[in-house]
Symmetry: D2
Subunit: 418 residues, 4 copies
């Protein structure tokens, strides 16, 4: 499946595929098959009925989405379609389709299966990004550059330390996100009222069997209207994509023609043959821009009424799929960008020099006081201004960036230890 | 094109079609054709080249979306594909494709054309909803029911007045939204830098011609990085969908089994044969739940850098299409629901009576004071409590809802005058 | 009242004052006084009672906010406090305090009065900003500078045209916002159920009198749970602040040391004596960053239950006051910044020249084709690259920015006509 | 400090105090004092200078907030004020105020200290809520009630299980939030460029000393523009408050007059003496409504430029303080509400019976099939409808709620094990 044009940069082909009609239907069918298989194993339904249900290989999307509007749940037309398919091969077996389960069991578990698929893609891309950032940081451990605060020059740092900062944020955010996945990837199974009453006392036993069947964790209890695990997963999309967007913002700024410290192969312009746009960064920024809103939408939908919500729950699929896809798109774009980044350490030095020592004013202030430096800088370059105030040796070293790096390398290493 | 399953209730088939690949490509092609036709008319490009360009009937989506990631704009692969198609029939004409224009001219104008298409659908559904609300209000001008504040019974009102309140909010919100459409549906045409320099002094003249060609307003100036008109349009989606969601919330609450004043045909449950769910309301609430987040995402993307943004602009398509579709989905659901609503005026009266007069406490308080009523109500029903305090005539009328409607009908009529 | 430190840059002293306890209590008292005065004039309550109520000059905040939590409405402790104050001077008059009105009438109307006060401040600041932008644009009608797209150099424009673009967006957004104020500044008056039943048939007449008393428009009907007018007002805060933030973003970028085309007096750094930070822009960006979220919060609270919400309505005050104050803070910061902006037209030219003609590649492409230019630029500067392809005259003019401005001045003037 | 009226229900008195001017200034002073003390201990500054700095007991807010606008940071006027205070007692010591540190070190660390204070309050309220929910669940382990899905009756459950579901979500969300606090409560200390260059090689050693002084964790490295830890903390406010709002929504719905299963002491109405409003729930819903927007605002501000942001960072204080306070307000309201909740088990049974057995349709369907039940229910009550289809014993038990609870008690106990 390819990306829809209207989705712009909010997904990738791989993630669009994860949430495609075919994959959704596959996941839904997988739940129903696991349910029937488990029920047969526990002798709750006839082995033969389960066998027929398990034979169904696929369900057609046809008009399911439109039909879902009538009952406010995709589960109703899906189960109907599945039962019809089973009925064609064995009328008696059809009655055992979705036996004793509820819409939300089917839809939530299907969603969990899709999220597990998505996680694999994200995990690979994160590993790639993580490795590349580490290498880039090591490679430029001693590439001197301006730190910049409020978009103005500040004392020097190293590009390696800057990259280690990116790495640290991305790595920590991944750990949190990954933990949120661990917590969220659980079976949903509670029946109509969350009590599994339709299975008399055997509900929990059945839940365990289905969990095994699907290789999913069996939760302490059904979580129908309690969406905190998914909410946390979506929220961590927001944190992770924020960390990615910071990288994209930094790179795009350093690619400005007047700064020129970084470049990515970048993209063409339809009008200007000269342009080398920060395409990867733009894609990442465009993708990441969606995520905070998805997080807010998911959180706003959390106060779900009683045992199954009237609206909040039904709003979740586009939100969670949107958050995952947009984050994954930003991730892929940044991983691609870092992998192809060109660094210009000479230009970095030139930009330090172009401040005429002003960025060492802090260093000077530590020696002779803030007021004196400020006064001195009013009319002259730092070196000229400080000549009367410093010893010759101090003066000689005052604007050597390599002598004013503090603990940059120490911090860089600690960040990479992560 | 049918609705994707993952979109849930966030769109309708008709609106999904508006933003489909086919329609996007059609709109983009329409811009390029209008550009060429206008340029030929003004003798800026050869008539023959324009004729060839205008012959192209369609462009294939194929891998355009994936290719767009490389250059961070769909325009680049699209223009390339179009030029190739033209080159096949006339190599010389290919150079005049997209002649002097920029990505943003193409993409923004295409978006505007799509929004115009969407507006027609929304407009029809709004007209339907508006008419139905008016009729429903008139029909129930004298159906007495409890007002409810903080989900507790309050003095009586009429269902007709309640519906008129819905009507008023929806109608006002539509007026604003419609005005925002009027303002936003403008040609985008500024060239690489927003100056139309590639056309020497003839840019504005060309812009006028293209506007005519596309039946779009010609803006005072290109609006590349100035997104306020679109922002206002998206924001009004939020206001309109909020007004719709209020209706859905009210109806779903009045459909509660214990209240039972309204019902919609509603949907089945996959587990419970007895259920009659408020499906239309659920769909509307689920759809409307997306819109505030889309509004925030669009507004957050407004600080677009210089003459074309690096990220903010490129994030807009899914946001604006999402806002329009979700609002349109809520609209369609509410229009359907209102059209099929069953009202139970008897149950409404029963629910008033079930308060044992307590909702007339305000009326009593106007006669004998707040403190006295509060004291009296501690042990008895209102009527018993007030017996010692009122004249027999006052007492007799104290709990007749039809005598305590104030200006309900007056206000109802004024709201419908809108 | 001064700004609280925790509010950071999200308000100004003047706007913090508008929403101070003192002003809120004044507005609430004003409603109650207007109510009593109007009721006395219509002989609904004794003239003497009204006279006593109107004598109360102020109510103490004391523990009102804490007390409000018990009843979920500030109106209850406020009315109690007012009644006690009246009782002290005339026990009989106390019973006529808030006579027949409801919490929401009091609180919504007080909010409207505060918004009217805020509007005056905003209006003045907007007028100042608008005038300054116009002047700045005129002054720099012919200051050549790079347009920049995706943060990369694009063909030249003028600073005057750039400023006119800012002006256009801000001016249009103000018109919308101002219109939203016009629409929203209405009396709220509906009584317990929105029917004004406590006044028998005389509710609308009384509403008219109160409106006159407060110089507010009298709405068609009470709007208790219909928040679309306020929602639109808050949404327009989002659009207007987005337009402001775009200006701040542009200026902060142009103030980068390596670009150096603009500067504002800026702020000191606590560590670096050399720094000249883009303080005004930072304040504006920090302030504007809050507004999209406030808009989403307000829109999310719109589905308010029945005749008075249980939660949504009660959430509005901090949201709407936050949106107004943050927008006003960004406005004040930008107005201050524009008023003190230093423009460096020489540096603007230097930055054009530093592209070595590359930004005229589009111009060249219009003459000799995209592919030829791209090929030529691979190894040489534009001028050298094009030497074999152009006539001497064409070549001579190829990189004169003043010859490649297209309709910049034409568009600039049209934007200022607004 | 009392709650400001405009803040409505978005904070509590205790939390407002945490973020008051006095507490902010105290935290800022505490950082400067810890810095000086640590520097003296490491012999970086004279012991006598540190002693003078440590003598300062407080700084006046006066015009600090207004002054902060000029430099876009509160740190500048604060450090100036502190230095002036020190200068008054010892001119030589003043130069050592804030020695070598940067604005962000001061402001971020002060924020962390405030968050630690807030956490204590939240922690106590959570413990109270948690204990109360557990007790309430145990007390009503066998109180039968309707489950409700899509606001319609579903098969029975127990109130104890319902409460255990609330408990589970709140408890899990607290664990996550608490973990996020653990992670976020770290010293910020990096100096102008994040390298601590002003302390030559001794920065990390100094950081360790300051951490000890403040009883804060020492981070691996300064985290100036990397806000993921705080972002995660704010995001978890969203998840936790969502879990609270779900409880409030459920209770408010169950308090509806027509349902009447729960009640809280609730609040008065200013107009209606009979009203018993769900005040605690309303306060909680109003408070929680703010949090998703704060989360989105924080996440949107994450792409912070280079080593210190121009806007994003400066926007954080109101956002994070807002999120913490609103969540804490919802928490306090729910804890109060649960503590005073009245449960009516008889009414719960009455409401089950009022469905005339319809909620046992699922049970019947498990015995005789979905279609048969649906058909049967068209004209009769469940019992009558099923008479021809079931054995006498089955029929006798068909609508006993206590026989159709499935694993409710099993799940309840597992949720409480947490």
């Amino acid at each position: 499946m390819s990306i829809r044009l209207i989705d712009g940069f909010a997904t990738t082909a791989a993630l669009a595929e994860v949430f495609s009609d075919a994959e959704i239907l596959r996941a839904m069918l997988r739940f129903e098959v696991a349910l029937a298989a488990a029920q047969a194993r526990l002798k709750m339904i006839p082995q033969s009925a389960a066998a027929q249900i398990c034979k169904i290989q696929s369900i057609e999307a046809s008009s399911l989405a439109e039909d879902a509007r009538a009952s406010a749940t995709l589960a109703v037309p899906f189960v109907k379609a599945l039962a019809e398919r089973v009925r064609e091969i064995d009328p008696g077996a059809a009655a055992f389709v979705h036996w004793g389960a509820t819409s939300q069991d089917l839809l939530d578990t299907a969603l969990i299966l899709l999220l597990r698929n998505a996680r694999e893609i994200l995990s690979e891309d994160h590993a790639r990004l993580s490795r590349q950032l580490r290498e880039l940081s090591d490679r430029h451990a001693h590439s001197l550059m301006l730190a910049r605060t409020l978009l103005q020059p500040a004392p020097p740092t190293t590009f390696g330390y800057k990259v280690a900062g990116w790495f640290g944020a991305v790595e920590r955010s991944w750990q949190r996100w990954s933990h949120a996945f661990d917590e969220a990837l659980q079976l949903q199974f509670g029946g109509a009222a969350g009590t599994l009453a339709s299975y008399a006392g055997r509900g929990p036993e059945l839940a365990r069997e289905i969990s095994k069947e699907l290789h999913l964790a069996d939760p302490r209890a059904p979580w129908h209207a309690h969406r905190d695990r998914l909410a946390s997963l979506v929220a961590q999309c927001g944190v992770y994509s924020g960390a990615l967007a910071k990288i994209a913002r930094d790179i795009a700024l350093l690619m400005q023609h007047e700064i020129g410290e970084l470049s990515e192969p970048g993209g063409e312009s339809s009008a200007m043959p000269n342009k080398r746009n920060p395409s990867g960064c733009v894609v990442a920024l465009a993708a990441a821009a969606h995520v905070p809103a998805f997080v807010a939408a998911f959180l706003s939908a959390m106060p779900q009424e009683h045992e199954r919500a009237a609206g909040g729950w039904q709003s979740e699929w586009p939100t969670i799929a949107g958050a995952i896809q947009a984050t994954g798109s930003a991730l892929a774009a940044i991983a691609d960008t870092i992998g192809r980044l060109t660094v210009d350490p000479v230009r970095m030095l030139v930009n330090i020099e172009a401040t005429h020592g002003a960025v060492f004013a802090e260093k000077a202030a530590m020696l002779v006081g803030n007021a004196a430096v400020k006064e001195a800088l009013k009319e002259k370059t730092l070196r000229a201004a400080l000549a009367p105030l410093l010893t010759p040796e101090q003066l000689d070293n005052i604007d050597h960036p390599e002598d004013y790096l503090g603990a940059a390398e120490f911090f860089r290493c600690r960040l990479l230890e992560n």
